[in-house]
């Protein structure tokens, strides 16, 4: 029994317990202040809002673990949504059939993978810093999207898309289900595959990894390609949820995804970080936001609180680290 608990503790990790404690405090405080907070309706709305940010955060997570950053995630998602919208429009808009949707999804995933592939190749073969490569890709994709749409919205999609954004399967929101599957896939990839292992190695010491016989260039290319694919899934979900596509949609989430990763204990220099704590961090951010919302604050105050919260967590981690060090000496 104790062995099982120890094993469980090892899988969950100390950072998750800390974050869950944080979450409990946040829930208790908001629950005490606002009676509507601990209600099914509120948690339902959290469950629908979380996946969009969650998928984008997963797209950001693996590049950060590898010591890089992918600043192009939002616009990759937008361009993928645009691709799907374009395919649907070409097949009759509101009257488009499921076959057109399937084709559009494949095209969107292809576009996302291509955007990621280009970034990955440039990073792997030119050695330019990922921040810069993804930054210029972001500027390029934003320009491309604005050029194609003239800054406007595209809407009018078939009705059968609505359940993807708003439906429930066995009481679980479909977007949450998609996010759960994606997070599981990412967790398995990072902890159980050769590629995942190579990602951590590259994040820790890229030179040593190269000398160990890992194909660093192929791994880097794959990291950004998969990140692009994840952006495509986020883009498709955003299209289904809002029933429209606009380039720039979700722009404000870019730095929030980085914030969620750091809050989830991912090392800013790369090499360390897991999916589970990041998911808990995402839940905390969303709960904070919806709690503040119920208290009558707006999205901007949530943004500010997210920022202050990150500073607080980093400061506490630093102080805790120093305490344990002095305790040992």
């Amino acid at each position: 029994m104790t062995a099982a608990i120890a094993r469980l503790r090892a899988t969950i990790g100390p950072e998750v317990l800390g974050l869950i404690a944080f979450l409990a405090v946040v829930l208790a405080v908001f629950g005490a202040i606002s009676p509507r907070f601990l209600s099914a309706a509120n948690f339902g709305s959290i469950a629908f809002q979380l996946p969009e940010l969650g998928l984008l955060t997963l797209a950001m997570l693996v590049p950060i673990i590898s010591g890089g950053l992918n600043l192009a995630i939002i616009y990759t998602a937008n361009i993928c949504g645009l691709t799907l919208a374009w395919v649907l429009k070409a097949h009759g808009g509101v009257d488009a059939g499921p076959a057109a949707f399937a084709l559009g999804v494949v095209a969107a995933l292809g576009v996302g993978a291509t955007a990621g592939l280009v970034m990955g190749l440039v990073i792997a073969y030119s050695g330019a810093h990922p921040i810069l490569v993804s930054l210029s890709m972001m500027i390029f994709l934003r320009g491309l999207g604005e050029f194609l749409t003239r800054g406007g919205d595209i809407s009018g999609f078939p009705d059968f898309l609505a359940p993807i954004g708003h439906g429930l399967i066995a009481g679980v929101p479909v977007p949450l289900l998609i996010f759960g599957l994606a997070a599981l896939a990412w967790h398995v990839m990072l902890s159980r595959t050769r590629h995942g292992f190579a990602v951590y190695m590259i994040g820790s010491n890229i030179e040593a990894t190269r000398y160990s016989g890992v194909n660093v260039r192929r791994t880097l290319t794959l990291i950004y390609t998969l990140s692009g694919v994840m952006c495509a899934i986020a883009g498709i979900l955003m299209l289904a949820r809002f029933n429209s596509v606009r380039v720039g949609h979700g722009e404000a989430l870019l730095l929030v995804t980085v914030l969620a990763c750091f809050l989830g204990g991912v090392d800013p220099f790369g090499g360390f970080g897991r999916v589970l704590p990041v998911v808990v961090a995402l839940v905390i951010l969303q709960v904070l936001s919806s709690g503040l919302n119920l208290l009558g604050a707006n999205q901007h105050l949530s943004t500010a609180v997210w920022g202050l919260f990150l500073i607080g967590v980093m400061a506490i981690r630093h102080l805790a680290g120093r305490l344990t060090r002095t305790g040992r000496d």
Binding site: V122, A128, L132, V133, V256, H300, G307
Partner: protein
């Protein structure tokens, strides 16, 4: 001359590309090489250049700053209330207030980085969210038009009438930009602190062991960045004559791309004022040229992004281990 070119590969390559671009544009678009166009190009780039030289100092010290554009907005908003409280003010007070407020915000970043030993990108992303969220929340997104008259008055520092009667003029922000460039150049090339910034950025631990104070370096770099952000905010209001809380949001990444294009290295220890200015100007001239050539404004960003992507992928090899000594 040849030796200078060899010692400054990034700057000389950028200067060459910029010269070729200007030559090509002056042939393709007759209105490019006119006083009216060139002066408006400078007027429109002034704010970005002031930010860029500030950011350069942070990059040299081995940090990164995402929060400066939002900090400039905060300074603008606070400055309006400060000026109202002291009954108007003038340019001297304006500069003093903008610089101090900006520097204070920079010090917030520096204090967090130094005290809690957090990486600068994490701190500035957090303060970016905190500054912007609080500003939008407390201001409710309200625009301010009721500004002191000295602030919004257009001050022409140089003018010249063309053959067709149109006036080419340089406005105050260009002079401030020149001063910011000179001051930053003096700081990083001609002071001990400047040399220490390079050393600290290149090897923080090594610099610390030879007696460079890490705290002093962070406060200098982010204080300088903050002061420049404040001044850029002041100048931007002088140009647009209004204070819009979210007007500068999103500009930070464009400036960052231009500065790194100019040879500053993410990770510290390298970068020059000349390269930084050339980087910003290259982007500005490209946009201006596309405009004159009649390219749709929606396509600007796309082309600029592609150019930066190409430029970065052919230089700046810093992420993968370097096989050649550069």
């Amino acid at each position: 001359m040849a030796r200078w070119l060899r010692d400054h590969p990034v700057e000389s390559r950028l200067a060459l590309v910029l010269a070729l671009l200007c030559a090509a544009l002056s042939v393709a678009a007759p209105s490019f090489l006119t006083f009216v166009n060139l002066t408006s190009l400078l007027n429109n780039s002034a704010v970005n250049v002031i930010w860029a030289v500030g950011l350069l100092v942070v990059l040299i010290a081995g940090g990164i700053d995402i929060s400066f554009a939002v900090a400039a907005s905060v300074v603008q908003y606070l400055a309006v209330f400060v000026f109202a409280a002291i009954g108007g003010g003038d340019w001297a007070i304006g500069f003093l207030v903008a610089m101090s407020l900006g520097m204070a915000l920079g010090f917030v970043n520096a204090a967090l980085i130094h005290t809690f030993n957090i990486v600068s990108i994490v701190v500035t992303i957090a303060t970016f969210n905190a500054f912007f969220g609080l500003l939008m929340f407390l201001s409710s997104g309200r625009y301010l038009y009721n500004l002191p008259s000295w602030w919004t008055e257009r001050i022409i520092i140089w003018e010249r009438q063309g053959a067709d009667g149109t006036w080419a003029e340089l406005i105050l922000p260009v002079a401030v930009m020149a001063a910011a460039i000179l001051a930053t150049w003096a700081l990083i090339r001609h002071t001990t602190t400047g040399r220490q910034l390079y050393a600290f950025g290149d090897n923080p631990e090594g610099a610390r062991r030879v007696g460079v104070s890490p705290g002093l370096m962070w406060f200098t770099a982010f204080g300088w960045m903050g002061a420049m952000a404040g001044i850029a905010g002041l100048m931007q209001v002088n140009i647009t004559r209004e204070v819009v809380p979210n007007a500068l949001y999103g500009r930070e990444l464009d400036v960052l791309a231009a500065v790194v294009l100019g040879g500053a290295r993410l990770g510290g220890g390298r970068g020059s004022v000349l390269g930084c200015v050339l980087g910003v100007m290259l982007v500005a001239v490209t946009q201006n040229g596309l405009n004159l050539l009649g390219v749709s404004p929606y396509a600007f960003k796309m082309v600029v992004g592609a150019i930066i992507l190409v430029a970065i992928s052919t230089s700046n090899a810093t992420f993968l281990p370097r096989r050649r000594r550069s």
